[in-house]
Structure formats: structure tokens, C-alpha cells
């Protein structure tokens, strides 16, 4: 029997405290130690650690396995499920399995296409879309049935999340699409990297106009840019990431050896600004291969102490 208790992330969000989640860089090894080590760096500052599901369509240790390892050492994972690699049968089974291991936070995403990853010849699945995945997970939790109507014999305590990208077209539809996700089951949202504050403010205005900020917890995606080169790569090669020219210029003007520091500074500034926006409930800090910076960012943005 699964223990029925709210996840820490859900508790923090419900209590109205500013929540922080981060992402674990998935190893290319079969070493549990690699996961433990990466998690240790983040655990002290985060209410949940995202186990990413082959993001960018690059092959790494699976998000399911990372979640299993994290629950073993008592850290709280956010289990990312993308629709790219598995069909509905596999996904529903994985949701049960994850819940059995004590995973409660589920993040339902579409997933980057295989063409952006290291194995573009792979077969893209996309049997579900993210909204169908959300609705199915909600059905499994609330009605205790599979999509076929077959009964599930235990409770599945899940806290359901989805992604949102307010920074790409069709801009004016993005808030309404969030409403769709909420109806499908989303309780929390992690957004794509936010570098464009005016655009995000406009999005949040639309979200508030529709009353959606009262129905879902919105966590803004932020992260430090490691260098001008890295920013340029993200901007041109990673789908969905928008970095305005001013930020690119700011990094370019900074001498190479100080760019990482500048990238962190930009991240702290963005974090401070988004905290002030009405309807924002937390941040999701993505610091790929510079996880050690998460602690500094949290501290410099004035978010300590955490507990």
C-alpha cells in the first residue's frame, strides 16, 4: 500500500511559500553514486529534483531509474515523462511503478523531437500528447482506472505537473492553452527558461485575466548561462529557448573568464524580477553541468534559509 501523504513540493506550494525545484544532470553511467552525488548538491535548496526524461532527445540514464534511486536515499523527485519514447501502455505502467516507489510529483511533457538529439534515426512515438497524458494520469489517480476502464486496485497519490513555454508563438494562445492543461489535470507548471521578462509579464497578465493563477502553481524556469558560446548554442540548437539580444550582448562584452559569473548574475537578476510578478509561485532552476551554482543563486536571490 502506498503511503498517502502530500509531496513536499505540494506542501510548500500549498502553504504559499516560494517553491524551488531544480534539475539533475542525468549520468551516462550505471553508477548510482553519480546520481547520489548530483542530488546531494541540489537537495539542500530544492523542494523537488527533476529527473529529466532524455531531454533534447539525448540518451542518458532513464528518468524512472533516477527517481528510484532518489527515493531510496530519501530525496524528492519530480518524475518527468515525455511522450516521445513510449506509448500509452508503457506510460500507464510506468506511472504505477513510479508511484509504488514513492514518486509523487509527475511532470507530463511532449518532449523534444528525436531530430534534435544524438540519435536522430530513432522512431518518434508521440502516441499521447502532453494533455492526453495529463488527463490519463488524473484519471488513474481520481477514478482509479486505466484508459481502458480497467480498475486499478490501489490509490495513486500524484501531484501533477506540466510544462509551458510562453516565449514562442502563438503568443496570444499560450494562456488559453494553459487553461486546457489545468482542466486536463495540471496542478503545477514549470516554464521554459525565462530570459524575456516583458514577454513573461504579458503572459502572466493574460493568465491572471483568465483567473488561471488561482488554479495552478506557476514555477518560472530560470538558469545560469555558462558562457557566450553556450548561450549561443542554446539559442540556436535547443528547441524553444529564447534569449533576447540584450542578454547575448551583455555576455559577449564580458571577458571570457568572467562570463560564467556574469551568466549567474543575470540569472539572479531574473529570479529577483520574476518573484515580484503576481501569480508566480516558485522557480525551477536549470543549471545543466553547473549544478554547484544553484546554491549560490538561491542565496544571492535572497531565498535562504529554506526550511
Amino acid at each position: 500500500m502506498v503511503e498517502k501523504k502530500m509531496s513536499q513540493l505540494e506542501q510548500v506550494l500549498r502553504s504559499g511559500r516560494f517553491a524551488i525545484t531544480s534539475e539533475l544532470n542525468p549520468p551516462d553511467s550505471a553508477n548510482a553514486e553519480d546520481v547520489n552525488r548530483a542530488a546531494m548538491i541540489l537537495a539542500g535548496f530544492c523542494d523537488g529534483i527533476n529527473a529529466v526524461d532524455a531531454s533534447g532527445a539525448n540518451c542518458h540514464m532513464s528518468s524512472m531509474a533516477i527517481c528510484a534511486l532518489l527515493t531510496r536515499i530519501g530525496y524528492e523527485p519530480v518524475y518527468q515523462i515525455s511522450c516521445r519514447d513510449r506509448n500509452r501502455i508503457a506510460i500507464q505502467g510506468d506511472i504505477l511503478g513510479a508511484a509504488a516507489m514513492g514518486v509523487q510529483n509527475l511532470l507530463c511533457i511532449t518532449g523534444d523531437d528525436v531530430s534534435s538529439g544524438d540519435q536522430p534515426g530513432a522512431k518518434p512515438v508521440f502516441d499521447f500528447d502532453s494533455i492526453q497524458l495529463l488527463r490519463t494520469a488524473r484519471m488513474m489517480r481520481d477514478e482509479r482506472v486505466f484508459l481502458s476502464g480497467r480498475k486499478i486496485t490501489s490509490e495513486i497519490p500524484l501531484f501533477l505537473g506540466a510544462a509551458a513555454n510562453p516565449f514562442v508563438p502563438p503568443y496570444d494562445w499560450r494562456a488559453q492553452r494553459l487553461a486546457k492543461k489545468i482542466v486536463a489535470g495540471a496542478q503545477f507548471i514549470q516554464t521554459q527558461y525565462c530570459f524575456d521578462i516583458p514577454r513573461f509579464k504579458e503572459y502572466m497578465r493574460q493568465v491572471r485575466d483568465l483567473g488561471l493563477d488561482k488554479q495552478v502553481y506557476i514555477m518560472v524556469g530560470v538558469g545560469p548561462l555558462r558562457s557566450y558560446g553556450a548561450a549561443n548554442f542554446m539559442r540556436t540548437k535547443v528547441p524553444g529557448i529564447v534569449i533576447p539580444d540584450e542578454i547575448m550582448d551583455r555576455l559577449k562584452k564580458t571577458p571570457k573568464e568572467r562570463q560564467q559569473e556574469e551568466g549567474k548574475q543575470i540569472c539572479v537578476e531574473i529570479l529577483e524580477q520574476v518573484q515580484e510578478i503576481e501569480g508566480v509561485s516558485g522557480v525551477h532552476i536549470m543549471a545543466y553541468r553547473q549544478e554547484e551554482l544553484v546554491a549560490e543563486i538561491v542565496q544571492e536571490a535572497g531565498l535562504l534559509p529554506r526550511r
Binding site: F126, D127, L147
Partner: protein
């Protein structure tokens, strides 16, 4: 001009919907008649919409754009990878299906709001069958579980005009 064309397409949709109802006894799933009608349906919808013959047509709910042309087969709106010029993450030369769908739906007085429908998972086993036949016999929408209550759906579609 575009608006005019879309209103016209709404009318055609209503007409086809109405005109095939009496044919229900003839047009049975997996029947010889279905085999005859499939090429006709395909021809009509392929020329106009690049129809992929998913067998469960939602064209009128998606701005008269066939969403099965989205490389990720999304039925509920765009992914997060849409390019800044509105083109597709996967096929940079193609405009994102959902950018087009939103533009289309915005110009459709009757069915525009249906863009906010929460579409159920695709029944892959209906691929290459006739959406008309499936619609007549309810195969496209039948389900053992309630996908979304009418009330929830209505509330959502009310947001369209906001």
C-alpha cells in the same frame, strides 16, 4: 478573404455532416461501401487539407487545419519548440500546424472555440478507415471512460471569447 473562405468551410462541414446522415444504414464500418467511399473521402480531404486519414476527423475543431500533419501528432495545441518565425521545430521549412490552426480558429465564428476542446488520445487502429463512416457510427468518439465532462468542456470553451 481568408475569413470568408473559413466561414464557407464551416458551411461545407455542416452540409456534409447533414447530407451523410441518411446513408448510415449503407455506410457500415468495414463494409464494401466503406471501401468505395475511402478513396473519395481521401481525395477530397487530401487536396484541401493534406489529410492523413486518421479516421477520426477533428478538422473543424482545429481551425480547418489537419493536426495530424504536426510531426509530433499533437491534437491539443502546439509543443514548446515552435520557432520564433512561427515555423515548426521538426520541419523548419513548414509553418507550425498549430500557429495556422490558431489563426484559422480565430476567424471561425461557429467552431472557433472548439480549439479549446480537450481531444482524447488518437485511436491508431482507425488509421486509413473512413472518418465519415466512423462518425456516423460513433466509432471515433466511443470510449469506456468519460474523457471530460460536458460541464468542464463548456467552461473551457467559454474562455475562447475572453
Amino acid at each position: 478573404m481568408k475569413k470568408f473562405s473559413l466561414i464557407f468551410q464551416e458551411l461545407i462541414y455542416d452540409f456534409v455532416h447533414w447530407a451523410i446522415q441518411p446513408l448510415k444504414p449503407l455506410l457500415k464500418p468495414n463494409s464494401r461501401m466503406e471501401k468505395i467511399i475511402i478513396p473519395l473521402e481521401k481525395l477530397a480531404k487530401e487536396v484541401a487539407y493534406n489529410c492523413q486519414m486518421c479516421g477520426q476527423c477533428i478538422l473543424h475543431s482545429t481551425g480547418m487545419v489537419c493536426s495530424m500533419n504536426c510531426p509530433k501528432n499533437l491534437r491539443n495545441g502546439p509543443c514548446g519548440g515552435v520557432r520564433l518565425n512561427g515555423h515548426c521545430e521538426v520541419k523548419p521549412e513548414m509553418k507550425c500546424i498549430w500557429v495556422r490552426a490558431y489563426e484559422g480558429a480565430s476567424l471561425m465564428p461557429k467552431y472557433g472555440a472548439e480549439l479549446l476542446r480537450v481531444q482524447p488520445p488518437v485511436k491508431r487502429n482507425l488509421q486509413d478507415s473512413s472518418a465519415w463512416v466512423n462518425m456516423l457510427h460513433g466509432l471515433d468518439e466511443s470510449s469506456k471512460v468519460e474523457w471530460l465532462s460536458a460541464e468542464e468542456q463548456e467552461k473551457l470553451e467559454d474562455l475562447w471569447s475572453k
